[in-house]
């Protein structure tokens, strides 16, 4: 039990050290998951204690970059939860059309799968040309991958099925070029995409938007940080703008439960009220 208590103290110190040295703020992440990820990294880096890991991370920025890959969770797919995209097409797109120009913020875009999904959907609806997509994340490696838009052909086969179920109107293969077991996404899909480093924990709002998509990011935050992020989304969204969350996320337990109304409840699509 003593060693367990030590581990918990060390984890707090490590997170504090990361914040002080690198300005990455994990202090309000959900404790259970961050603890598992740090202990997992510990084994990968062959450190006996979290304190030993902390020493290496403090003195070696390269080491921190490696640890960051464990602290963030790059789980993403294209057209994940196809029903969500069907609802976007049917319920949100007709209203989005009414704005002369559209700004979309994909917060926590990870390796870009959601960005390309959104761009494909907007192109098929004839809206991509007048849309700017801001794709933000805290992990520079993930952002690089997102910008490159190269995914394994194996995963593309799964995404093709998602795309079909999501109401896709074309042959999914039209959106990429296959080469050496990889798929290279059509680069014109990201003509209107701005990729940027942005932290929901420490940064502020940078633009007015009509739609914010933040899926499977808030579950890693504690309630205080969830409230902060929802506050940013609320501030960024224009009057009656749209907020879309992951399938197990909601505004229900947050300070913003009264400030967003459900548009499509099972798909977690909200409108600023």
């Amino acid at each position: 039990m003593t060693s367990e208590r030590n581990t918990d103290i060390e984890i707090r110190l490590l997170i504090e050290a990361i914040y002080l040295k690198y300005s990455y703020d994990f202090r309000n992440y959900s404790g259970a998951s961050i603890k598992r990820r740090i202990l997992h990294a510990l084994r990968q880096f062959d450190c006996l204690t979290v304190s030993a890991l902390q020493e290496r991370v403090l003195h070696d920025p390269g080491m921190f970059m490696q640890l960051l890959q464990y602290l963030t969770i790059p789980v993403s797919e294209m057209f994940r939860d196809p029903g969500h995209y069907v609802a976007l097409r049917n319920e949100v797109v007709p209203l989005l059309r009414t704005w002369p120009s559209i700004k979309v913020w994909i917060a926590g875009c990870s390796t870009g799968e959601e960005v390309y999904s959104m761009a494909i959907l907007l192109r098929e609806e004839g809206l991509l040309e007048r849309t700017i997509i801001y794709a933000t994340d805290i992990n520079p490696h993930s952002l690089d991958k997102a910008k490159q838009g190269i995914y394994s052909m194996q995963s593309m086969r799964e995404y093709a099925e998602n795309y079909r179920l999501a109401g896709g109107r074309r042959d999914f293969a039209e959106y990429y070029t296959a080469a050496y077991g990889n798929a290279i996404m059509d680069s014109t899909l990201r003509d209107n995409v701005t990729f940027a480093d942005h932290s929901l924990a420490t940064d502020s709002v940078f633009s007015e938007t009509q739609l914010v998509s933040c899926r499977n990011v808030l579950i890693y935050f504690n309630k205080a940080l969830q409230d902060r992020a929802l506050g940013l989304f609320h501030e960024s969204l224009c009057h009656r703008g749209f907020l879309v969350l992951g399938s197990k996320e909601s505004v229900d337990f947050s300070a913003y439960s009264e400030r967003f109304e459900s548009l499509v409840k099972p798909e977690r699509i909200y409108r600023k009220s």
Binding site: S30, S33, R36, I73, I219, N222, K223, S247, K248
Partner: protein, 191 residues
């Protein structure tokens, strides 16, 4: 059994039937939260909570992110997400890779609940064809909590309880009816 502030239950193959009888044995007006992970196919719409609720005739909730744990409530993990207990006694979901091919993983629920409840936790591992939960149950014991393993001879599939017994000596090895008796006699105190 005194001083139990929460019960966590893990099961896999054969687990639905086992959960029916174990949860059915909870005394009326039990005053602690009960949290369960049953391995499920990774299908977005699980009916487990509804099925249990109908059968048990008491409310059963599919666990939601940031949901505060309440005394006398039963929570089950939904498919596709790990379920954890946070130290402020709320639930949280996450999508780290599967453990022993499972998401939700029993180990993650057990370990996080042991961190949150310490000696006040009772962990139970039932039937299953998977080693998930063994490490988590040992961790509960290590943190002062109490542990119960379903007797492998009584389990529909023995592998999960056997894996647990290979890792640590639990407080009780019981058949399902033994577990039912233990739960029925649970003297609980709200936390």
């Amino acid at each position: 059994m005194k001083g139990v502030h929460a019960v966590v239950i893990g099961a896999s193959a054969g687990g639905v039937t086992a959960l029916f009888s174990v949860l059915g044995a909870l005394p009326a007006g039990f005053a602690i939260p009960v949290i369960c992970v049953l391995h499920l196919p990774d299908d977005r719409h699980s009916q487990l909570a509804e099925v249990l609720q109908r059968r048990l005739r008491r409310p059963v909730f599919e666990a939601r992110d940031k949901q505060p744990l309440r005394a006398g409530q039963i929570y089950v993990a939904g498919p596709g997400y790990h379920l954890s207990v946070e130290r402020d006694l709320t639930l949280s979901l996450s999508q780290e890779p599967p453990v022993h091919f499972s998401r939700p993983a029993i180990d993650y629920l057990f370990m996080s609940a042991a961190d949150a409840y310490g000696a006040g936790l009772l962990g139970m591992l039932l039937t299953g064809a998977n080693e998930d939960g063994a490490e988590g149950l040992a961790y509960i014991k290590q943190n002062g909590g109490r542990t119960v393993v379903q007797d492998p001879c009584d389990a529909q599939v023995a592998l999960m309880p056997e894996a647990a017994l290979a890792l640590h000596q639990p407080d009780h090895i019981l058949s399902l009816s033994g577990i039912e008796r233990l739960l029925a006699a649970l003297e609980t105190s709200a936390c």
